[in-house]
């Protein structure tokens, strides 16, 4: 039975949402947890990161986000030759239609929450990989979640976008009257290579000052994931970093997040 439903959100693209989704799932599974991943992004990046082919429409999250859904989650086992306990329900283009349905359906905001309540998954944790900008799928994900993790790149435009996401989360939690309200579990910064040293010229920023604001908002900050080519290569190979390059120091950082998640479950 699900003990945690974690939405991975940001308000900008390319900031490590799907990377965190697969690596957190892997680290949780290494610690014996059964994990489901839902790809709620029309870009279908979770499919690529899992090393799978684009599924038929009936085998995507679009099937789950229907008012007449009957609990037959189209889950695919992933990386089974290397690890047990991880399944994925994939996103992709069909989700553009789901989005319209979520707007029109009277229970649109709660369709995913309804599905999980009516047809509980047998997993311990569900991780929802959300789209890059705030839209209807975010509302459905938020209303189904116990927690939100926000990924961030230390650039001004991404931090500004994250600030707006935090504002949106507060406003939406209140408007939807979610009880218990999903909490922001933490912020996971992703390093921006060495560009930070040129930040004044490029309009980039380091995250100096952010920890104080997050502390004030009682939102934990996790250590920065160091940007390196192996993360991108692992994604292209359809593997979590822990399988692609077990000795990569970033694995310890993903593991730390998994440990914090498990602490709240046990």
């Amino acid at each position: 039975m699900l003990k945690k439903v974690i939405s991975i959100m940001s308000n900008s693209g390319g900031v490590g949402k799907t990377t965190l989704t697969v690596n957190l799932a892997y680290q949780l599974a290494r610690k014996g947890k059964k994990v489901a991943m839902f790809g709620c992004d029309p870009n279908g990046s979770l499919t690529l990161f899992c090393g799978l082919d684009d599924p038929q429409k009936e085998k995507t999250m679009d099937w789950v986000l229907r008012p007449d859904f009957k609990g037959d989650y189209p889950l695919f086992p992933v990386w089974r030759d290397r690890i047990e306990g991880i399944d994925a329900c994939l996103g992709g283009l069909p989700l553009t239609e789901s989005t319209q349905r979520l707007v029109l359906d009277k229970r649109g905001a709660y369709l995913l929450a309804d599905a999980l309540e009516d047809y509980p998954l047998p997993h311990d944790v569900l991780i929802i990989d959300c789209p890059g900008t705030i839209e209807q799928l975010h509302i459905a994900a938020l209303s189904a979640s116990t927690d939100v993790i926000i990924t961030l790149k230390p650039e001004d435009k991404d931090m500004d976008a994250m600030a707006k996401l935090l504002e949106w989360i507060s406003l939406t939690r209140t408007e939807l009257r979610l009880k218990p309200a999903p909490k922001v579990f933490g912020v996971v910064p992703n390093g921006a290579k060495n560009r930070a040293m040129h930040r004044d010229n490029l309009g980039l920023s380091d995250i100096e000052g952010l920890p104080d604001i997050m502390r004030h908002m009682q939102i934990p900050m996790f250590p920065t994931i160091k940007d390196n080519a192996y993360i991108a290569n692992a994604a292209a190979a359809g593997l979590p970093l822990g399988i692609y390059r077990a000795g990569d120091p970033n694995n310890k950082l993903y593991e730390k997040i998994a440990v914090e998640v498990i602490k709240e479950m046990d």
Binding site: D156, M159, D160, A163, K164, L166, E167, W168, S170, L171, R173, T174, S205, G209, L210, I213, H216, M217
Partner: protein, 32 residues
């Protein structure tokens, strides 16, 4: 006029801070 200095972090997050405060007040009102 275009801003020539970086936007202060506190200004960036003022909306988020206000919304969180509003949320807390709404919760307190509900509890009363």
């Amino acid at each position: 006029m275009a801003r020539i200095s970086k936007r202060p972090m506190a200004a960036m997050f003022s909306g988020a801070l206000n919304a969180q405060e509003g949320e807390t007040i709404a919760q307190l009102k509900e509890e009363i």
